[in-house]
Amino acid sequence: MAPGAFSPRRIAERLFAGLDAPLLTIVLLLAGIGLATLFSASYDTPSRVTAQLANLAVALAAMWIAAQIPPQTMMRYAVPAYLVGLALLVGVALFGEVVNGARRWLHLGVTRVQPSEMMKIAMPLMLAWYFDRYEATLRLRDFALAGLLLAVPVLLVARQPDLGTALLVAAAGFYVIFFAGIGWKVLASLAILAIGSALPLWGMLHEYQRKRILTLLDPTQDPLGAGYHIIQSTIAVGSGGIAGKGWLHGTQAHLEFIPERSTDFIFAVFSEEFGLIGNCVLLLLYSLLIARGLMIAANAPTFFARLLAGSITLTYFTYAFVNMGMVSGILPVVGVPLPFVSYGGTALATLFIGVGILMSIQRHPKLIQT
């Protein structure tokens, strides 16, 4: 063994090998913003900041591991991951634990898992694997089958009910199908079909989901009930102004007018305290993250890697757009966190695993020959 193999420098090099510097910088900046905002939002429960720091450590470790796994290995685990995820979702539907009126958790002996979260990764893996396998001979029939592979887990998640996650899983799957080259005509007809089926779907929605959509159109209809979230978060955003009220000086947040202010509505706290300038910084960071992800996708060596990278990257867009849109009152309230910023360990880990996969794809461009 060469001398200095265990020198700190070599260890650091080994540790950071394969970690894409631009991606890492962007997500760490976002996570930093998240911690700062969380510190302000949870002034009454300071333990949340330390808990989130621990979550971040776990998520970074998960990212590191994911970054070490070569894409072809991922490809091998695509089908098993999807099948296990599907089985667990069925398990949740049958034996799941009800928390806050929704059946999302499944007890597996010592621990409990949220299989819907796992689907966020397993879904693009599966579809990317599927399209990669039939790359040369893709026909409409293949897209139809992919649609089925997508629809089953999404419906299972939506039934829990967890509209936010269902939306994210559906988006992840859809992006794979989109990048796989589904025809524009097919896409257009699908869109018409979707609008056509909106009515029967409306009937399938839970009462509180319908209410959320209705109050989006006019939050003042129910100012103390379903409209309360949107009204208060809009006030927070609007009262922030251009420069914001300053860190730790958001009155809406500190006086508890914003519900779920450290999780789904953390953007209201951020926007109130940092104003339009802060929002531009945040949007810029997300744009850079997406740009870097799409760049990795465009340069990826295999069809599988391209589809996977493209899908994961656009999922980040979905998170950010839906969350900020809902807080600022242009989208319905669905449980989607602000990526890398909102409090919560599971979501953070999933997000960072995605980053790890992107890094792995960036790192292994030439290992796979076609």
């Binding site: 104003g275 996708a297 465009a298």
Partner: protein, 637 residues
């Protein structure tokens, strides 16, 4: 083949990159949309949302002012604020009210009166959620409840200021009382546009000075700007505007004089009003029986209310300003004066009184059987000769009588600073036309004029009016509007606003005529045959007076009034008007004793007692009880 595959691959990659580009553009468009929304909210609508956020976090908490005190002319406290504890229940936080009250009664004494009072409060007040189930808790009860507080969510001990009336029943009609603000009060406050100044205030003046000087006593409500959280909990005080305490109201009334007068009634019903003629200041205003205003402060319980309201003695009526009585013979001096002024009589002209006056087929009886003999004006007043006035009234005619009496304030409100004053009735043909609907009832009959001559008939005046009239007479025809309040003082600055005497009118009376009438009234108290002579025997000051007896039940013609055989409630009212000293009078008064019989017997001694105390500081030897039946009193009235 390999080339084709490669070519295929190249095409695939190109297509993918196009889609990546499209995705990138879509992302930018979507983020642009978000940015536009944020600019809209944070730049264009910023002011609007800024205000909303401020409204959200700041609440205004009113701090009610301390109510001003009510004092008598010597600084004696008539109404003050005592601190004490109440046990209050928040209706919205208590699930089973009955059960909670039952459980509370194990710790704190809660009687059936407290319960019924609480129910009444619940039905009357909707503006406050927290209502007192018990007031004025003892220290021991406070301690007992405090130890068990955790068992009673929604029940609280509150330290509060209570209005307290240390004089009890004394001067209760003057002082009045406060009560909890009900919905009607609330509407009235809103009409006046002062409801903001009553935020945080539970009570309002209901009667007496408490009501008529409500605005001065109330003060200005202070405010605290409080930062609150979404649950409404106060976080910190942002600013504070201290409340301005209400002004102290000092009366011209002397509570000691008032008590002397009240005691002089000896439990009989009636009223007394004493006025300083030169200013209109009210020195005493008695309405007997009184009531304890303390009962009303926290909302009166229905039992106490019923016993006050249903009592045949009507203690809640303020007889002094709202009780209407025929003036009886106390009207005679004014009629005599009118006759002098109009030239219908001279002091010297005489009549012969056979004991009755015949008008048409009707015979008007004099009280003195056999009559007073030869009577001039002086004697007519001193001995209260009815026949003289039957004739005089007939000669004057009703229109002249009404025109002459009106300037003295008969039949119109005196404008005293109390609410609820009655107007009374100064009869005239015009009044009768308005009063009655039927044509035959509207007609004025000459016989009715003759009854007016001795103060009977439709006449009905308040003791307040009788007192103001005699004060005006005593003051040489200068009428000052009566007022109870002497001055209003700001307790912080000591700044005083005096109620200036208000000259209502100056009657253009001939001085010689006026002097003659006053001299005749002095004779009432001084001459041996004077109807007030017995009551005023040995008085160490000069005074003028006039007795009066008002029929409660009309007697049939030729029927003799026999006091002993008439039910108490049907006995005549006893009246007396007086002023003293004769020259530059310091006090003028009117007394009415309901069903007291002859004016000389019941009302005159009360007037004597009051004048003795006011002019000499002399307290009565014994409470003035009803005069015994066998005492021989001049029945000149």
């Amino acid at each position: 083949m390999r080339l084709a595959e490669l070519k295929n691959h190249e095409r695939e990659l190109r297509r993918f990159r196009v889609r990546v580009g499209i995705a990138g553009i879509a992302v930018l468009v979507a983020f642009g949309l978000l940015l536009a929304r944020m600019i809209y909210l944070q730049v264009l609508q910023h002011d609007y949302y800024q205000t909303k956020a401020e409204d959200n976090r700041i609440t205004i908490v009113p701090i009610p002012p301390n109510r001003g005190l009510i004092l008598d002319r010597n600084g004696e406290v008539l109404s003050r604020n005592d601190s004490g504890y109440t046990l209050e229940i928040s209706l919205s936080k208590v699930q089973n009210l009955e059960q909670t009250i039952d459980r509370l009664s194990g710790l704190v004494e809660i009687g059936p009166r407290d319960r019924s009072r609480f129910k009444k409060l619940m039905s009357e007040t909707r503006r406050s959620d927290s209502l007192p189930i018990r007031t004025r808790l003892t220290d021991e009860e406070v301690a007992r409840f405090a130890a068990n507080r955790f068992r009673f969510p929604g029940v609280e001990i509150k330290a509060r200021l209570f209005r307290y009336y240390p004089q009890g029943e004394s001067a209760s009609h003057v002082i009045g009382y406060i009560g909890r603000i009900n919905e009607q009060d609330q509407e009235r406050l809103e009409e006046l546009g002062v409801e903001a100044n009553y935020r945080g205030t539970d009570t309002i003046g209901r009667r007496g000075i408490e009501a008529s000087y409500q605005q001065d006593l109330h003060g200005t409500t202070g405010f605290e700007q409080l930062e609150i959280d979404a649950a409404g909990r106060g976080i910190r005080v942002l600013s504070r505007t201290a409340p301005q305490p209400g002004d102290d109201v000092s009366l011209a009334l002397d509570i000691r004089l008032q008590k002397v007068a009240e005691q002089a009634f000896g439990g009989r019903r009636g009223a007394l009003v004493a006025i300083e003629p030169s200013t209109g200041a009210v020195l005493a205003l008695v309405s007997e029986p009184g009531f304890d205003p303390n009962l009303f402060v926290d909302g009166i319980d229905p039992q106490s209310w019923d016993s006050l309201n249903d009592s045949p003695d009507r203690p809640l009526n303020d007889r002094a300003i709202a009780g209407l009585y025929p003036p009886g013979s106390t009207l005679k001096p004014y009629l005599a004066l009118a006759a002098l002024e109009l030239g219908k009589r001279t002091p010297k002209s005489t009549i012969r009184d056979p004991g009755y006056f015949v008008f048409g087929d009707r015979r008007f009886r004099d009280d003195k059987v056999g009559g007073h003999g030869v009577v001039d004006m002086y004697k007519s007043i001193v001995e209260s000769c009815d026949t003289y006035y039957y004739m005089l009234a007939n000669d004057l005619g009703i229109d002249a009588i009404a025109r002459s009496l009106e300037p003295f304030g008969f039949g119109s409100r005196t404008g005293i600073d109390l609410d609820g004053e009655a107007t009374g009735v100064l009869p005239s043909p015009e009044w009768k036309r308005k009063r009655f609907a039927r044509r035959d009832q509207q007609k004025w009959y000459p016989g009715e004029t003759i009854s007016i001559g001795i103060g009977q008939g439709y006449n009905a005046y308040t003791p307040m009016q009788l007192a103001l009239a005699v004060a005006t007479l005593a003051n040489g025809g200068a009428m000052y509007r009566p007022h109870l309040v002497d001055h209003i003082e700001n307790p912080r600055t000591g700044e005083r606003r005096y109620i200036q005497p208000h000259l209502e009118r100056r009657l253009p009376l001939n001085e010689a005529n006026l002097e003659f009438i006053k001299r005749a009234m002095a004779g009432v108290n001084r001459e041996q045959d004077g109807t007030g002579a017995r009551a005023f025997a040995g008085a160490q000051y000069t005074s003028g007076g006039k007795t009066g007896t008002a029929q409660v039940v009309a007697l049939k013609q030729n029927e003799k009034y026999d006091e002993k055989n008439v039910a108490e409630r049907h006995r005549d009212h006893s009246l007396f008007i007086a002023f003293a000293p004769l020259d530059s009078p310091k006090i003028a008064l009117a007394v009415v004793v309901e069903n007291g019989g002859f004016g000389a017997r019941a009302a005159a001694p009360i007037a004597r007692t009051v004048l003795d105390y006011y002019l000499l500081g002399k307290l009565p030897d014994k409470p003035n009880g009803p005069v015994r039946e066998d005492e021989s009193v001049k029945e000149g009235d």
